[in-house]
């Protein structure tokens, strides 16, 4: 069974092979292996890109396969980041507070330590109390569980309400935008308990590992991201294969017909929506320790729209398409906006890519939608004309 699964999906082997080669190559060229070809910050960029590929897979499942154009999946990504960020920041601050108090004559009581942590973390929003949402911040295992549970629960409730009322199409997209906007606005408030617009910072420092350099930590997270992406890819193929895949593609193409076959369409949508929210949460939890900082701007509505653009450009309805789109567009984006692309002088006007990149991206999106609806992934059909299934 396992063997036939791989034979039916040759792209799994190709993908895993490429990912392994890429991971090894980056490792060998990094400061971790004593080389200086790739800087530590670029290792982090690549690791973050792998996380973006993972959430793109989630987006492809929910949109490309099940036909739910969610424009809110970055909310789940951000929540995942916040959940792991709380532990990172709390523990790190605890270490700092403990060190500074160690010099005092009397050993500090736990209350004093908590107070010190509260002042350190929440002084910036004018408080010293540790809010209730930080209740479990001292426990890594619980915060890691929350990475999965909070996005899952939010998606479950939101999806249940929306799908039960048969909200579909553009109306559902608008609702998901409203959800991520509302969450972002809420987190912007200082009394939300998550430090308002300051967000959580210093996440690149891993508590208890202060002796380990960023060269090493960045590679660890890079590996973790690669493993998560590989598992996510396998899981996505498993979900979209066989009868479950048939049913969700059927829902995408003709929801009413699936209903008359006796399938509970709302239940399926809820499973896919919630499952992909969990994947997004995990991707976020791996992303933000590499980014070092998370703030509410990360889950602004535009982020989720970019996600849809990546998947559309990469080619929806095929898992590798989503990965290609996310990697290609996000890396290109950091090249253009990071000043990598040379400005073009037109005499009277100079095109500066930091400003014009978005315009270029917008045009590419329109062009892909009109002229190549299968996206970049569609190019593989040219190599392999026998390709069938997975049509969008």
């Amino acid at each position: 069974m396992k063997q036939s699964f791989l034979i039916r999906n040759p792209h799994i082997l190709v993908f895993m092979g490429l990912l392994a080669v890429f991971t090894i190559a980056v490792t060998l060229m990094s400061a971790y292996a004593g080389s200086d070809v790739i800087s530590t910050s670029f290792v982090k960029t690549l690791g973050k890109t792998l996380c973006l590929c993972l959430i793109a897979i989630a987006m492809d499942l929910v949109w490309g396969y099940c036909g739910i154009l969610s424009l809110g999946h970055f909310a789940f990504f951000g929540i995942g980041g916040y959940m792991v960020g709380m532990w990172l920041m709390y523990e790190r601050t605890k270490e700092i507070v403990a060190t500074s108090m160690a010099a005092e004559a009397l050993p500090p009581t736990p209350e004093e330590v908590r107070e010190g942590i509260g002042t350190q973390i929440f002084g910036v929003v004018g408080g010293a109390e540790i809010p209730w949402v930080w209740y479990f911040a001292d426990f890594l295992s619980i915060q890691l569980a929350l990475v999965v549970l909070v996005p899952g629960l939010l998606a479950l409730i939101f999806g249940w309400l929306a799908f039960r009322s048969r909200v579909t199409g553009v109306y559902l997209s608008i609702l998901t935008q409203a959800m991520t906007l509302a969450l972002s606005l809420y987190l912007f408030q200082n009394d939300s308990g998550l430090r308002g617009n300051n967000g959580l910072s210093g996440l690149q420092n891993i508590p208890g590992l202060t002796d380990v350099g960023q060269d090493t930590i960045s590679i660890w997270f890079f590996w973790a991201s690669a493993v998560a992406l590989a598992l996510g890819y396998l899981m996505a193929v498993f979900f979209t294969q066989g009868k479950f895949g048939s049913v969700i593609r059927g829902i995408r193409d003709d929801e009413a017909r699936v209903r008359f076959l006796g399938y509970n369409v709302e239940g399926y949508k809820l499973v896919v929506f919630t499952g992909t929210a969990v994947i997004a949460g995990i991707a976020g939890a791996l992303y933000y320790p590499q980014a070092g900082i998370i703030n509410p701007a990360e889950i602004a509505p535009i982020a989720s729209i970019y996600l849809a653009v990546w998947v559309a450009i990469g080619g929806r309805g095929r898992i590798y398409g989503a990965v290609i789109g996310a990697a290609f567009v996000s890396l290109l984006s950091s090249w253009f906006t990071g000043g990598g692309a040379p400005d073009i002088s037109l005499g009277v006007y100079t095109i500066q890519w930091t400003d014009w990149w978005l315009v270029l991206l917008g045009f590419s999106f329109v062009a892909v939608t009109l002229f190549a609806p299968k996206g970049i992934g569609g190019l593989f059909d040219l190599i392999n004309p026998a390709h069938k299934g997975e049509k969008s």
Binding site: V247, L261, N264
Partner: protein, 246 residues
């Protein structure tokens, strides 16, 4: 023969227009029934009500031995109870192969987790191939259903209905757009199916209905105008006036 479906006193109106007006209808366990009537007589709305797509303003729809009401159930629950529907235009999943289409329809547990863990087995494969044989698509199983001819799509849909193993088959204009040979084949399939289950055929084509050789219900303006053998209803003066005599 016991009653499988009993519709009584059902009315439904859309924006003041009474699409169904105090309609009553009964069908037994293994029976073939044709419903005819001019455009706007309420044939499709009738099917919508039975399958749960439209909720009537008043009336009852009672199903099966346990006399459960279909009105409170969702479309998917009604389908699971054993009501299968074929639409006027063939609606198959064009981006999927004939095999995938049939496999989705095969009677099995319908929950998301059952389906996720579902593994194809020899028994299901044999059943699927048997159905493909019946509808003449045995050598088309791996083709994308979007590539099939119109008639083949009609059959694929009929095959999907049979795969669902419904107790009641609602078929909307099965012969539309078919060649004479294809019609004959369709008639055979339906007659065969009616031996073991209830089949309701909505059809415009009188020749086709005559060949089904079954009881006919004539709808007009949302209620039953006449019921009986084809010869009985075609000799009914009212029926001639509103429908046949046009």
């Amino acid at each position: 023969m016991s009653t499988l479906l009993e519709v009584s006193g059902v009315s439904v109106s859309f924006d003041g227009f009474k699409a169904i007006n105090n309609l009553s209808f009964q069908i037994g366990d293994a029976e073939m029934r044709a419903i005819i009537g001019p455009n706007g007589a309420g044939k499709t709305t009738f099917m919508d009500i039975v399958t749960g797509k439209t909720k009537p303003d008043e009336g009852r729809v009672i199903w099966g031995e346990r006399n459960i009401s279909l009105l409170g159930l969702s479309e998917s629950r009604i389908a699971q109870e054993g009501v299968g529907r074929k639409f006027q235009r063939p609606t198959v999943f064009e981006a999927q192969s004939v095999r995938e289409n049939l496999s989705m329809a095969l009677k099995n547990k319908r929950g998301p987790f059952d389906v996720l863990m579902y593994r194809r087995n020899a028994e299901a494969r044999a059943r699927l191939e048997d159905i493909a044989e019946q509808v003449g698509l045995s050598d088309q199983l791996e083709r994308m259903s979007g590539e099939l001819s119109h008639g083949q799509k009609q059959w694929l849909e009929i095959g999907m209905l049979l795969a669902q193993e419904p107790r009641l088959l609602l078929v909307d204009e099965p012969a539309a757009g078919m060649t004479p040979e294809e019609r004959e084949h369709t008639t055979d399939i339906l007659v065969e199916a009616a031996k073991t289950r209830a089949v309701v055929v909505v059809e415009h084509d009188m020749e086709f209905v005559r060949r089904l050789n079954c009881k006919v219900t004539v709808l007009h303006e949302g209620s039953v105008l006449a019921e009986g053998s084809i010869d009985h209803v075609t000799s009914n003066q009212e029926v001639i006036d509103v429908y046949l005599g046009r």
